[in-house]
């Protein structure tokens, strides 16, 4: 099970994910984030992955999708605190060249 919580600060939306980010889990995350993006304007989307214990290419697709959406809205996106195994998937997929990972 994947838990999603978020925090809004001015135009910064931080999404905290907890659990395993696979194909089974991505649909709910996508819907939750996209709903937040239409509720009120977001200039920066931060995906906090400190509590994500597993991620495969389904997570990569989700991140690229949200990145493209933020770009089309004139905003940007960052990834925060991925664990070592998550970072390995992010790097091998080229996401570290697309956005800031800290």
């Amino acid at each position: 099970m994947l838990e999603i919580t978020f925090k809004r600060q001015n135009r910064i939306l931080t999404v905290y994910l907890k659990g395993e980010l696979d194909h089974h889990a991505v649909l709910k995350v996508k819907e939750t984030i996209d709903l937040q993006l239409v509720k009120s304007p977001v200039a920066l989307l931060i995906l906090d992955m400190s509590a994500v214990t597993f991620m495969d290419s389904s997570g990569v697709g989700l991140i690229v999708g949200r990145y493209n959406k933020m770009k089309s809205l004139g905003g940007s996106m960052k990834i925060a605190n991925p664990g070592l195994n998550i970072l390995k998937v992010l790097k091998m997929s080229g996401l570290s060249r697309l956005m800031e990972i800290s």
Binding site: E20, H23, H24, F54, D56, S57, S58, V60, M92, S93
Partner: protein, 142 residues
């Protein structure tokens, strides 16, 4: 090389079984005392192959997925099979970032991840008959 242990399971093509399959494969591999990183790599590769069977092979409809794990002294071979639509052009499918389902926000990274996280990857497929993925991971001696 002689196998030292083997198991085979079948399960329905449902996305909740993605975590089931990778946990089962990792639990079986644990007999060889792999590192946490090696186990994480194995789980990711299994998840990719099972997710492909569900999304592409059976196109998110009904079907049965077969997973066989064979243990050797210092490696595991995992075979994941579906009797779904099959792959028309395997060479094209293997190209990183190629996906036939961009509308589903797929990154086209599944095979690239399997290839880099395992030591070997073999894809057998026939259009209309199904797909069989065979991959092996070696565990370092500790």
């Amino acid at each position: 090389m002689q196998p030292i242990n083997r198991m085979k399971i079948e399960f329905e093509s449902k996305s909740v079984n993605e975590s089931f399959a990778r946990i089962v494969a990792a639990a079986f591999a644990s007999q060889l005392d792999p590192t946490l990183e090696e186990l994480a790599d194995l789980k990711t590769a299994v998840s990719e192959a099972v997710t492909n069977a569900i999304i592409h092979g059976y196109e998110q409809k009904e079907g049965t997925i077969y997973m066989e794990c064979i243990l050797y002294e210092d490696s595991i071979t995992v075979i994941i099979e579906d009797h779904g639509v099959g792959i028309e052009d395997i060479e094209k499918a293997r190209i990183p970032a190629f996906t036939s389902k961009p509308e589903l926000e797929r990154a086209g990274m599944g095979f690239a991840i399997m290839e880099s996280f395992m030591d070997s990857l073999d894809i057998e497929s026939q259009k209309g008959a199904g797909t069989k993925i065979t991959m092996t991971k070696k565990f370092k001696k500790r």
